[in-house]
Amino acid sequence: MSVYPYIVVAWLLGVGLYGVISSRNYIHLIMCLTVMQASTYVLLLAIGYRTGAKAPIFADIPEHSRVVDPIVQALTLTDVVVEATVVALLLALAVQAHKRYGTTDPDAMVRMRE
């Protein structure tokens, strides 16, 4: 098992986090959130990966072939669906912010309130 996927996981998580912390634009912030989320995909898929293994579809391969773990793939798929909902909701809120207050800058929103 290679260590590189886990380095990618840490990198994606880190840069995404930095982006969320420093962002001055809601859309940018939400995209940084999706970068963080990408780290979860990479982690899950890396966990299930086996070198030289086939896709876990037993229709056309022998029953005892070496295959990658299908469970983490199912988890990733579920994760994609769940987080797509979250991102859609967040983007909808960002659109509302822009429509009603003419800004997508979180700081400007805070200042406006004061």
Partner: protein, 603 residues
């Protein structure tokens, strides 16, 4: 009988789908009735489930995927009394909240009821699930619904901001959860809690387990809003509709703590059982800081809903102390306290909703003396304040004394005075607000730093403002009665004690999931000690004194004390900036600290 478990999640989900589908055809009142019926059905189902598992644990395997050869691959609902009780509590709160919502203004036709029902389904499913990944999915279902409900009044800037803060921080929490799941799966090859626990019990610990544990704990603490993960909560709860707050404050924050207890006893206790002391110190420490921080902030807050949001944070801190003691007694105390205090907090939000309906405002200073005519609501609100200050012998008193006794038993006696302080300050905040608004007591202060425009909350209800609608008053009254009643009957403590002893029996839990008959429950009985009456009585008196000082501090020449309090509070208040970036940084810092503590000490 166990088939009822999936039904109690499916009924609200199906009802939500039906309502979303029918929204063009049905008038609003039919919607109300259908939603209330669905919630009531879920409440009945969970109550039957609770009665059924009162003496054991029942497992439902989806699709009949029972464990074979000692290996659990299927997905299960593992229902035990604490989880079923929490689910029933959620469903009952939801029924009352939906009745209360009868007058809530519709922004867009069917969404409100649909979201409320999916919110409930998420929470109930989370309570019953025996599978780590399904816990994650229900966790997200509950979070997404809650975000949409918080940001429901999109025409208000504060609601948009609150919703965005809530969504971003909780989504990062969800990523931590998922990363933790991935690591634990890599280590054990399992997602079923019992299966993971079995593998961990039979294998040496390594760093992966510690990191996974840290990530999962952090995710649950984000949801529970424990310092420093709590910043999103007051922004979100301050802007939500009153009936939504009933659910958020009464039940959602507690879900994180339930998850924490679930994974500790079900999964990690065998792995880290030897190092309980460290984990106890971390969790109880976090709980104490949260309890005092939240209480102090609630005392310095003018906006009524925000004040109650900090009250929620404060009590989550006390609950965390109970859970974090890692004993059955502490857990039993938390269970009682969560119910009693959940009802009490919900009733306070109910009162605030009535004030908002009648007077259209939620700022304490502006409302000064303006609600004198709302006598019944005022009485409920002030009584709620006394409950929050743990006035004996009512519900919160019972729960709090059980937590204090449990703390003393494991040598954490010093926690008790701090819990007293926190509940006294929190109670004082409510009592002072109540005295100002409903009695017109205290000095009228000029509105110097009453901060924000989020005080100018628009009305969220329809109908005549000349009377308090029965649909708002009756649920609030029932909530207060429930909160008080739990303590009047001390037998409740014994039930919770028995349930908690079953809950902490991880070996029994895992065996039962794999098909063994659940171990016999041993009856436990506890009642408050003499010093608990003293502590809680003291907390009530202290709350009254602090409230009086807040009201008439200037008159009795206590300028110095007031100025001192303001100086202490300034840096705390300054931390609550309302910026997502700052909150995320605090979250990251919290995870790093937690990870460092666990990595250094656990092995």
């Amino acid at each position: 009988m166990t088939d009822l478990a999936p039904l109690s999640v499916a009924v609200p989900l199906l009802a939500a789908a039906l309502l979303a589908f029918l929204h063009h055809l049905l008038p609003r009142r039919v919607f109300d009735l259908l939603a209330i019926t669905a919630a009531a059905a879920a409440a009945a189902l969970t109550l039957v489930l609770l009665a059924h598992v009162a003496n054991g644990l029942s497992v439902y395997w989806f699709g009949g995927w029972h464990p074979r050869h000692g290996l659990a691959i299927g997905i299960d609902f593992a229902v035990e009394p604490i989880g079923a009780g929490l689910a029933a509590f959620v469903a009952i709160l939801m029924v009352l909240a939906l009745v209360y919502s009868y007058r809530v203004e519709d922004v867009q036709a069917p969404h409100y009821h649909v979201l409320m029902l999916t919110f409930m389904a998420g929470m109930v499913g989370f309570c019953l699930s025996g599978d780590l990944f399904n816990m994650f999915v229900f966790f997200e279902l509950m979070s997404v619904s809650a975000v949409a409900l918080v940001a429901y009044k999109v025409h208000e800037q504060a609601a948009l901001e609150g919703g965005l803060n809530f969504a971003v921080i909780n989504t990062i929490g969800a990523f931590l959860f998922l990363l933790g799941i991935g690591l634990i799966y890599a280590h054990t090859g399992a997602l079923n809690l019992a299966q993971i626990g079995r593998v961990l019990a039979n294998s040496p610990n390594d760093r992966v387990t510690v990191v996974a544990f840290t990530l999962l704990v952090a995710a649950f603490l984000v949801k529970a809003a424990v310092v420093p993960f709590h910043f999103w909560l007051d922004d979100a709860y301050a802007v939500a509709l009153a009936p939504v707050c009933l659910l958020l404050a009464g039940a959602m924050s507690e879900m994180g703590l339930y998850g924490l207890a679930r994974i500790w006893y079900g999964v990690f206790a065998p792995a880290f059982g030897g190092q309980e002391g460290v984990i106890r110190a971390v969790l109880v420490g976090g709980g104490l800081i949260t309890a005092v921080w939240g209480a102090a902030m609630s005392l310095s807050e003018d906006h009524l809903k925000r004040m109650l949001a900090f009250l929620t944070i404060s009590f989550v801190g006390i609950f965390l102390i109970g859970v974090g003691l890692l004993t059955a007694d502490g857990l039993a105390g938390t269970a009682v306290y969560v119910l009693a205090d959940g009802f009490a907090k919900a009733s306070l939000f109910g009162c605030v909703g009535i004030v908002q309906h009648r007077l259209g405002q939620v700022g304490q200073r502006r409302l000064h003396g303006k609600a004198r005519h709302l006598r019944a609501t005022g009485a409920l609100f002030l009584f709620g304040g006394l409950l929050a200050a743990s006035l004996p012998p009512f519900g919160p008193f019972l729960g709090k004394s059980m937590i204090e006794d449990a703390a003393v038993k494991v040598g954490y006696g010093f926690a008790a005075p701090l819990i007293v302080l926190a509940s006294a300050l929190a109670g004082a905040a409510v009592l002072r607000a109540g005295a100002r608004i409903f009695l017109g007591w205290g000095d009228v202060e000029e509105d110097r730093e009453s901060s924000s425009s989020d005080e100018e909350t628009e009305s969220e209800t329809t109908g005549s403002r000349d009377r308090t609608p029965a649909v708002m008053f009756v649920p609030t009254l029932l909530l207060v009665l429930a909160a008080a009643g739990i303590g009047v009957w001390f037998g409740f403590a014994d039930l919770a004690g028995t349930a908690a002893h079953r809950f902490v029996d991880g070996v029994g839990y895992r065996a039962a999931v794999f098909g063994a008959p659940p171990p016999l429950a041993t009856a436990h009985s506890s009642s408050p000690e003499w010093y608990d009456w003293l502590y809680s009585g003291g907390a009530t008196v202290l709350a009254l004194i602090v409230a009086a000082a807040g009201l008439w501090g200037r008159r009795i020449k206590a300028h110095a004390a007031l100025a001192g309090a303001a100086t202490i509070m300034r840096p705390l208040k300054a931390l609550h900036t309302g910026r997502i970036g700052d909150y995320t940084a605090a979250l990251a810092l919290g995870v790093v600290v937690l990870g460092a503590l666990f990595t250094i000490t656990l092995r």
